[in-house]
């Protein structure tokens, strides 16, 4: 069974987002998503300093199976991208909620995270997709 972390929020498109103490939002893809993708071979990350709007295509994950777009969960500025994924894309498969994070965003409105899916709702979504 795929892990569903309970300290993050989710998008229906299988991204997770977590607000850190300094109000930065860390974004990655879920365990369900990495398992569906298979071995990740390339990750295309956005430029640090660029702005994204919630729902924008923000990154691309290329796996042995297919290329998948990763969507921004919030509107804001990209403050960091995970350079580890450049040389070790398999980190996404190995630790999707931890060292496999994709980007950090300073959200224009941190409260907008409240409208994203709770872990229980995301879990239900995954179960219905099977």
């Amino acid at each position: 069974m795929a892990e569903v972390r309970d300290d993050v929020r989710y998008l229906a498109s299988h991204e997770w987002v977590k607000l850190e103490a300094d109000e930065t939002a860390v974004v990655g893809i879920s365990d369900h998503a990495q398992a569906a993708l298979g071995d990740v071979v390339y990750v295309e990350l956005p430029e640090v300093g660029s702005r994204v709007a919630a729902g924008d295509e923000m990154a691309v994950v290329e796996s042995v199976k297919a290329a998948s777009d990763i969507y921004a969960p919030v509107t804001g500025e990209i403050t960091a991208v995970n350079m580890v994924l450049e040389d070790a894309p398999e980190t996404v498969n190995e630790a999707p909620f931890d060292t496999g994070w994709f980007v950090k965003i300073r959200p224009d409105d941190a409260a907008s995270l409240e409208s994203l899916l709770l872990p229980s709702a995301y879990q239900a979504l995954c179960e219905s997709e099977v």
């Binding site: 298979g38 071995d39 071979v41 390339y42 290329e62 042995v64 290329a67 498969n93």
Partner: protein
């Protein structure tokens, strides 16, 4: 529709196989990581369940004459019992109906054809047999395992019964032995040393278990595809189909014109006179990315071909693929692939990309 399972289904589940629908069979696409499985075959040894493939024995007085008419390669190249040959069979327009391996067996010949083309092939074989004293007997009670990699032969030597192992040690590539229902051939679909074993279903799990005890790793269909791609081996349905002739998909070397008048032979000769020729080359992406079947290949802004098969190559750490390109319009040093709307340059290379774990491709010039 219920999916079929091979006799090794329980072993796939036990090994953590992620099961998918493959032409109506529940088969493992991987057991955790297709990249790890690919590397295991290049560096050590892996075992594949290929029991879903179709095995047909061709027996009867006219078996040899029939196959000489049916197949584009010449079964007379099988000079003795215990040899195997790769061939295409063509339709009346010279397009490829399927590719297969034909073995010279104690009582005639054995064909191993693809899984997805089983019904089409059986009907085709029957139809082509008219006028020949020959019988087709599908061997649906057999399982098949492929064991491939630098350590595959020694692993098999360890697990086979002593007398069979002795005979097995003598086999050269493309030779096979028959021991009652057991057939072991020095063939494979990976570019590594190894063998394919046809055996009674009730012996298959035992052999699988013994191989795993020897350290051989279970390998899924995902890695099977990346291994054969690196090895320059065609996949029916991707690299060729009924509208593709052998010279367009790198199979000219399997076609022997020696007066046998095989099905499609005259059409091939006629077609050379009248149509644009294509050839199949290897392509390697010059930048990060993955080539996939269907991506256009362009030269100077014009489409000159298409990617027929593509994947990420774990051995070369690049996107690679086969591309069918028009011979006339193509400058081989100026090619790009269109990937999601973007043009990415590719290097045109000879096939195979990899042999026994090492890159062997050469750059192609015009």
């Amino acid at each position: 529709m219920t999916l079929m399972q091979t006799c090794l289904y329980s072993r796939h589940i036990a090994a953590g196989g992620k099961m998918v629908d493959f032409s109506g069979w529940q088969m493992p696409i991987h057991y955790g990581s297709q990249i790890n499985e690919h590397t295991a075959v290049r560096e050590r040894a892996g075992v594949f369940d290929v029991s879903h493939m179709t095995v047909i024995d061709v027996i009867g007085q006219d078996a040899r004459a029939y196959l000489q008419h049916l197949l584009a390669n010449d079964v007379d190249r099988l000079a003795t019992l215990g040899q195997a040959l790769y061939s295409a069979m063509l339709n009346h327009e010279g397009g490829v109906v399927d590719d297969l391996i034909v073995y010279r067996a104690p009582e005639g010949y054995r064909l191993v054809v693809n899984c997805g083309t089983r019904e089409k092939d059986l009907a085709w074989l029957q139809q082509a047999a008219e006028g020949f004293a020959v019988e087709m007997m599908e061997q649906a009670e057999l399982a098949m395992l492929a064991v491939q990699g630098p350590q595959a032969l020694s692993a098999l030597n360890q697990v086979l019964p002593t007398d069979v192992a002795q005979r097995f040690k003598q086999l050269k590539p493309f030779e096979c032995l028959f021991e009652d229902d057991l057939v072991i051939a020095r063939t494979g679909y990976t570019g590594e040393k190894g063998a394919e074993v046809m055996l009674q279903k009730d012996a298959a799990c035992g052999l699988w278990d013994r191989l795993l005890e020897e350290g051989v790793m279970p390998i899924g269909l995902g890695a099977r595809d990346t291994l054969r791609l690196e090895a320059g081996l065609n996949l029916y349905g991707s690299d060729m189909n009924e509208s593709v002739k052998p010279s367009s998909c790198n199979l000219s070397w399997t076609v022997v014109h020696n007066g046998r008048n095989f099905i499609g032979e005259q059409a091939l000769i006629n077609r050379v006179r009248t149509e644009t020729e294509h050839k199949m080359i290897g392509v390697i992406l010059k930048e990060r990315g993955v080539l996939r079947s269907g991506y256009p290949i362009l030269c100077d802004g014009n489409q000159v071909g298409v990617v027929t098969s593509g994947a990420f190559s774990p051995t070369l750490q690049s996107g690679i693929g086969f591309a069918r390109v028009s011979v006339e319009e193509t400058s081989l040093t100026q090619l790009s692939a269109e990937i999601r709307g973007k043009l990415v340059p590719v290097t045109a290379v000879s096939l195979p990309f990899v042999k026994q774990g090492k890159a062997v491709y050469q750059l192609l010039a015009d």
